[in-house]
């Protein structure tokens, strides 16, 4: 079975070990029964023990987990072992046999990460191995139990109630205050919590006006109010702007300093080096390595995540650009959204659109695709002037749009992989009477499963059960099946792991090498530099410049995107 990369970077605050020591145990740990061979038990246990005793205050964090799954090739036996050790990898001390439910098993096939979070937050139960908290086996059999044990998870999309203010949001599930809440006291406590995490948010503000990062801070404060001991952050910065992401990382580091163990899951390597103390790599639902950050280089980490040497991952591949212009856009604009966009896109070329969040890059893509048509300017496609006001027109012309939001715009999550792949090209599978040729649909789906290496036991499975990277591939398959001349990719690798990222990059390169033209909207600067033959930089709805890859640097692009040269940007 080929590999899907699951990476998990983690760090744990030392004080949490002190807490653990107080309760007479060394750590928060999940011994694993069946997969002991995977864990270098002795040294890890030692390091954990050392930490538990001494360094209560300083910032020496330890990392977390070990996950292992045995993934059966077919769906039949709902088997799968799960275990994770936080801090210390120990030989199995006891085995708790629990059955993993059917749904969970499907996650296991595709993604170790989701399942691990679900087990740690009590949504699923491990089939083997024990979750130990503070040295005692704990049965975390539901979200309440997880909360009581001090485990909390935070996702990319924070859960806030838009109409309540910050203080009310923080104490939303608090029962300690009783029915009649003392609003003044509530506010004071909320302010303390917000200060503790090092953010500056007015507790009287209504949540709907907060930025994403501030909303996440509210969620963190909420877990703090419930005495969280282990906070799992699942790609918290994936949809944040660089500035917000930096803020959130500071919050995470701050929390760790105060004794909360933070498991920080990220696909962005820069972040990992900025904040992690130990790094754990998981691939194919298996624990690959756990090392102190000092022993890790980005090369070694990527190699472990991908399972092969990817030394040229961030290097620009040679351009395939020809002189034939596929799409020519002149003075393109949509009233009040963007204006004066002009560029030529040639066959075999990858053009990247860079810019900050809110630079209106997506709107340009949507205008070309006809979802939100342009109100001024002209488009010439393969030599003929066109005006596209509906997606169906764009599709007929061979223009495809891989949207950034898989969940809301990209895939019908509860429907099968097969019917998602044929979705944009349904007409190809219809007889004159409108009957669907499901056999041919299936053949197509199977062909793409092989070609794009979509990891699934069956193309009849609901696409929502796949991991993010595999969902992205299904979405690509849907549009590649159109055999488009122009593919617009909107954040093609957001929220997917490095291995899948590399595969998506290869697919984009393969697409242009075969004569396609690609317009790639991306906020990931290394990606922009690795992919783009030319880079169009936008700022606040305006085109700032088109730069050649040869002359482009991250700093130069940031300067153009922010409109100030020399400004430093994190992430």
């Amino acid at each position: 079975m080929r590999k899907v990369v699951i990476s998990l970077f983690a760090f744990l605050a030392s004080t949490s070990f002190a807490v653990a020591a107080d309760t007479g145990c060394d750590a928060f740990k999940w011994p694993v029964a069946r997969e002991q061979a995977l864990f270098p038990a002795a040294p890890a246990a030692q390091s954990g023990a050392a930490l538990a005793v001494g360094q209560a205050v300083d910032f020496s964090l330890e990392a977390v987990d070990t996950v292992s799954f045995e993934v059966p090739p077919e769906r039949a036996p709902a088997a799968g072992t799960f275990g994770a050790t936080a801090n210390v990898t120990v030989p199995p001390q006891g085995e708790l046999q629990l059955s993993l439910s059917d749904e969970a098993w499907i996650d296991v096939v595709q993604d170790g990460k989701s399942t691990m979070i679900k087990i740690m937050t009590g949504i699923h139960q491990p089939t083997s191995g024990v979750l130990e908290i503070g040295g005692r086996p704990a049965l975390v059999n539901g979200p309440q139990a997880a909360r009581a044990a001090g485990l909390a998870a935070m996702y990319q999309e924070p859960m806030v109630f838009p109409d309540l203010d910050v203080a009310e949001n923080i104490f939303i599930s608090s029962t300690r205050e009783g029915w009649l809440q003392n609003r003044g006291k509530l506010r004071r406590k909320a302010r303390e919590l917000i200060e503790r995490i090092g953010m500056h948010v007015d507790v009287d503000r209504v949540a709907s006006g907060l930025t994403l990062a501030e909303q996440q801070a509210v969620e963190i404060a909420r877990s703090l109010s419930q005495d969280v001991r282990v906070l799992i952050m699942d790609e918290p910065t994936a949809s944040l702007s660089a500035h917000e992401a930096a803020q959130l990382r500071a919050v995470a580091a701050n929390l760790a300093r105060q004794g909360v163990a933070v498991v920080y899951i990220s696909h962005r390597l820069e972040e990992v080096f900025e904040i992690a103390h130990r790094v754990t790599v998981i691939r194919d639902g298996r624990h690959i390595s756990t090392r102190p950050i000092a022993e890790v280089t980005s090369q070694s980490m990527i190699a472990e995540m991908v399972g092969r040497d990817v030394s040229n991952y961030f290097e620009k591949a040679p351009s395939h650009a020809t002189s034939e212009v596929v799409l020519s856009v002149r003075d393109f604009g949509r009233e009040g959204v963007f204006e004066d966009i002009s560029f030529d896109l040639r066959r075999g070329e990858i053009m990247c659109m860079a810019g900050l969040i809110g630079a209106r890059r997506t709107d340009v893509g949507l205008a070309i695709f006809g979802i939100a048509p342009a109100t001024s300017g002209t488009m010439t496609y393969k030599g003929a002037p066109i005006s596209v006001t509906k997606a169906a027109q764009a599709i007929d012309l061979g223009i495809a749009y891989v949207s950034e939001d898989r969940r809301k715009l990209g895939l019908a999550m509860s429907m099968s992989i097969r019917s998602n792949i044929s979705l944009a090209t349904l007409a190809q599978y219809l007889s004159p009477a409108g009957m669907l040729d499901r056999k041919r649909e299936r053949e197509t789906a199977e062909a793409y499963r092989k070609r794009l290496n979509i990891r699934t036991p069956d193309v009849e499975l609901a696409v929502g059960l796949l991991s993010g990277g595999n969902q992205q591939k299904v979405m690509l398959a849907k549009w590649l099946n159109l055999r488009p001349d122009l593919l617009i990719f909107d954040e093609p690798t957001r929220g997917i792991d490095v291995g899948a990222k590399a595969e998506v990059h290869d697919l984009i390169r393969e697409f242009v090498a075969k004569g396609g033209a690609a317009l790639v909207i991306s906020s990931d600067l290394p990606e922009v530099l690795a992919l783009g033959d030319r880079i169009l930089v936008m700022r606040e709805g305006r085109q700032m410049a088109i730069v050649d890859n040869a002359g482009a640097t991250q700093h130069g692009i940031i300067a153009l995107a922010t409109g100030q040269s020399g400004m430093r940007m994190a992430g």
Partner: protein, 330 residues
Amino acid sequence: MSIRNGFGRFRIQGWELFLLTALVVIMATNSALSPDYLRVSNQINLLQLSIEKVIVALVMTFVIINGEIDLSVGSMMGLAACSFGWLFQSGVPASLAIVIVLFIGVAGGAFNALFVTRFGLPSLVVTLATLIGYRGLARVLVEDRGISGFPEWFNALGQQGLVGPVPFALIAFAILFAISWVILHRTGFGRKTYVIGTNRSVADFAGIDTARHKAMLFIASGTISAFAGLLYTARVGAVRGDIAFGFELDIITIVLLGGVSIFGGAGTLVGTLLSILIVLNLRNGMALMNITGHIQTGVIGVLLIASVLAPRIDIARLFGRRAPLKEDVS
């Protein structure tokens, strides 16, 4: 459970298996309790008594899977019946009146569609308004009178067997069911119905004309409702302003009990069919046991709650019905 047959892979899903089991249990109980139950005349009778609602339930299955709802079907049936009575009384030949009434159905559906697709209003609100509006029109047309005395051939269509003891409406239902099944489960139109119901934006981005699709379904719903209203008129032989009053609730109940998700995107026509048979046999069995109509209604209500509850409790796991995957895993 997965069975291979001539159609390729034909799946009986968990919920349908549950409904099938329930149906068998109900039929066995009924036949044990009443010797009359299994007689052909009783079987035809039990189907015929609700045949109009059952026909509309077929289209309603499409509408709900598509993520919408049409509350105006009962009123549309009433409007169709009353228009027919009024036209007939005004001297229009019955055959021509039938054609006109069917067009009224098309127009009524198109009116709903206009507000839902063009103005983007929720179908719940639009069709609630037309539920009141169409009923009002029906009452205006016939006022407080009852109209009867339709031609012999028209009444015979509803009251007598067409092929042996099987009446026209039952044959029409069988044909409509077959057509609907093929459309929903084997054509591009059916696929689009599911996709739009699952996630309309995804359908928009795939170039599917979602507004047109929804409009077609509302028009079909109006037309079939008018057709069902005519069948009802023929069976009863008379019209009044309150004819087919409240039918929409029975129709929606049947569809939801059949496992169609009120949130759209999930459900099958086999589920609807099984649900129809369960409701009718249950009512018939209770009637044969002299249980009153009110209690019958109560039992159906309990059944509906059970069907909504089922995906959330362990019965569901037992029969393998998966809760609709609204929030996927990342």
